[in-house]
């Protein structure tokens, strides 16, 4: 029912493949307006007129997400040194240190040889930021919105940039003297990104 435009679709597939963003034929639909009208009942008005226009102030207040290309990152910067001290005061109880476990997810492996995704380890490797996360920007987005667990959304940009820098450092992704900003953070290529593939299950006879 959604009309396919094969040329723009093929082009967008090509572009997506090059950029490393997973190619999906689930998303690209350049003729959204046609699709939207397909189910409208015959007696529906073009617009019902319910709701209010959103003010740009509300949008700016709510629009807190960070895209993989860095869109949404605020002004500011962070360092590993500051991140280390914030981590020790706000994160270590749940997430542990290099030598001990906290109550929740490990963010970096205790064994440094296990932080690189190509390292061969017997049995299951602990999933860490370094060996599993495909985008560094996700760290900023998630820490900013959801952490610390008992007071989410309470950190300032300098803290979030710094924690991001510290965690990337502990996972062997950046050097200790890195300064993360809205321009440098999205440029970081996480080693695990090339492991990610799109879901190819389609039902049918084959189990995937």
């Amino acid at each position: 029912m959604i009309r396919k435009f094969t040329f723009p679709l093929a082009l967008s597939i090509l572009i997506y493949s090059c950029s490393g963003v997973p190619n999906t034929d689930q998303g690209a639909d350049t003729n959204a307006q046609v699709a939207l009208h397909k189910e409208a009942e015959e007696n529906w008005p073009e617009r019902f007129g319910f709701g209010k226009e959103a003010s740009s102030e509300l949008i700016e207040r709510r629009d807190i997400d960070i895209s993989p290309d860095g869109k949404g990152l605020p002004a500011g910067s962070g360092t590993v040194a500051l991140g280390r001290s914030v981590y020790l005061s706000k994160c270590v109880a749940c997430h542990g240190t290099r030598t001990s476990n906290g109550s929740y997810d490990r963010l970096f492996a205790i064994d440094a040889s296990k932080v690189h995704p190509d390292s061969v380890a017997k049995g299951k490797r602990t999933k860490t930021i370094g060996n599993y996360w495909p985008y560094a920007t996700t760290l900023y987005d998630y820490i900013n919105r959801a952490m610390p667990f008992n007071s989410p959304g309470s950190l300032q940009p300098a803290d979030v940039y710094s924690l991001t820098a510290y965690l990337l450092y502990e996972n062997g992704i950046v050097k200790e003297d890195v300064v993360l900003t809205s321009t440098s953070l999205p440029r970081i290529i996480m080693p695990a990104r090339r492991r990610f593939v799109e879901d190819d299950r389609r039902g049918g006879a084959e189990v995937k």
């Binding site: 699709a35 319910f50 226009e53 807190i64 997400d65 998630y142 959801a146 990610f196 299950r201």
Partner: protein, 411 residues
């Protein structure tokens, strides 16, 4: 006082209830001021006959029988539906499974707003009253967590194995209706859906699903959606992994690329062969489970109606097969109830149990021709170190000679 008739009644009641028997039914006032019937023990010496005592009066809120013990099994972040104790295919709302990432928020309906912005002609906010004014849609569909699989022990009920799935009748407005209202600009291909819990949960949703059967749901089984399921409104994506159906939804941003949120990168992804990690695994594959007889139930020799539910996130169930000899032979079960798209579907199979130890199993086939696999087939397809999401293997129940039924773990 007791004639032979009521003596017979009391002893049969004792047999059914076991242990301390109800001997009398009387009226008392509960702590809420409601007049209810309650039971007194046999030692009180009063006759246990409800035909002799005035019953409870009508009330504002109904109750379950105090003899029925239906409970979910909660953990720190989830709560499982007692599938083996339910009938039909609708899950009572207070038994609907839960999975939260930072608890259930308290949201006042009067201040609630859904913001839709981004690649739209006109960014809008809708109050709950606004959402309810749009043409509404009602459908029955299951919800399931993609982590809905546990195994390893014999003492596991359907609740323990796959209790993170439930079914409700959902009412709301189609997301396509709302997107039509704001106008989607060309070039849009992905949405970011965001919730208002303490996790501020986010997932990227392909526009195609948003325009297909996605809903903004505000009612569940005839009343306002429950807080545990997303009050006052949630996103509902029929057939997709539960995490994508963002609860307590507060914002939808229309964009042109996936946002790569924490849940869809570091969490709801699974390792497959060749060191690869499968992402955006949205659809819940076809699955079935026998809910009777299952642990911890017990069967008697003779006729047994094997019952269960089957479902698929890709459409309708077209067939369920049952084996009563550990998978050597399979027979088609009947599908006597409603067969709906992306919904729990009843199956039944009448079986004469001769008292010998055996295993009973079920497997579902959906309209795409997909047959519910065994664990071995899943491992063969995804590799030995496969991730723990989207596991839907055939479940086997072991029937002992004494009639006790146990789970037979896959490995």
């Amino acid at each position: 006082m007791s004639d032979s008739g009521s003596e017979r009644k009391i002893s049969r009641r004792k047999l059914l209830l076991g242990g301390a028997a109800t001997a009398a039914v009387v009226l008392v006032k509960s702590s809420f001021g409601k007049i209810v019937q309650t039971s007194l023990p046999e030692s009180s010496g009063v006759t246990a006959d409800p035909t002799k005592v005035l019953g409870a009066f009508p009330a504002e809120i109904g109750t379950r029988s105090s003899f029925e013990k239906l409970l979910k099994k909660p953990s720190f972040s989830s709560s499982r539906t007692p599938l083996q104790a339910l009938y039909g295919t609708i899950t009572p709302s207070d038994l609907h499974f839960e999975r939260h990432h930072a608890g259930v928020p308290l949201i006042e309906p009067d201040g609630y707003e859904l913001l839709i912005h981004g690649l739209v002609d006109k960014p809008m906010v809708f109050s709950l009253a606004d959402l309810k004014r749009f043409p509404s849609v009602t459908r029955i569909a299951f919800l399931e967590c993609s982590g809905n699989f546990r195994t390893g022990k014999m003492e596991m009920s359907p609740q323990d194995i796959c209790g993170l799935t439930s079914q409700s009748e959902w009412t709301g407005v189609m997301l396509s209706t709302l997107l039509r209202e704001v106008g989607v600009r060309s070039g849009a291909s992905w949405l970011l859906a965001e919730g208002s819990d303490a996790a501020v949960m986010t997932r990227s949703i392909p526009l195609r699903k948003a325009l297909d059967d996605a809903m903004i749901v505000y009612a569940q089984n005839g009343e306002a959606i429950r807080p545990e399921q997303g009050y006052p409104a949630r996103l509902f994506l029929p057939g997709w992994e539960g995490n994508t159906s963002i609860k307590w939804i507060r914002r939808i941003e229309v964009g042109d690329q996936p946002y790569m949120t924490r849940e869809e990168t570091s969490k709801y992804t699974e390792e497959v062969k060749g060191g690869k990690i499968r992402q955006f695994s949205f659809d819940m594959d076809a699955r079935s489970i026998i809910t009777y007889p299952a642990y911890p139930q017990r069967v008697e020799r003779g006729w047994v109606e094997i019952r269960g539910i089957a479902w698929s996130g890709r459409g309708k169930i077209v067939q369920v097969e049952v084996s009563t000899d550990a998978g050597k032979n399979w027979y088609t079960a009947s599908l006597p109830g409603l067969i709906l798209d992306k919904a729990h579907t009843q199956f039944k199979y009448l079986w004469y149990w001769d008292g010998g130890e055996t295993e009973i199993l079920s497997r579902a086939t959906d309209e795409t021709g997909y047959v519910q696999p065994t664990m071995q087939q899943l491992i063969a397809a995804r590799g030995e170190s496969m991730g723990g999401y989207h596991l839907n293997p055939v479940t086997a129940w072991y029937v002992q000679r004494d009639g006790q039924v146990f789970h037979r773990p896959e490995r």
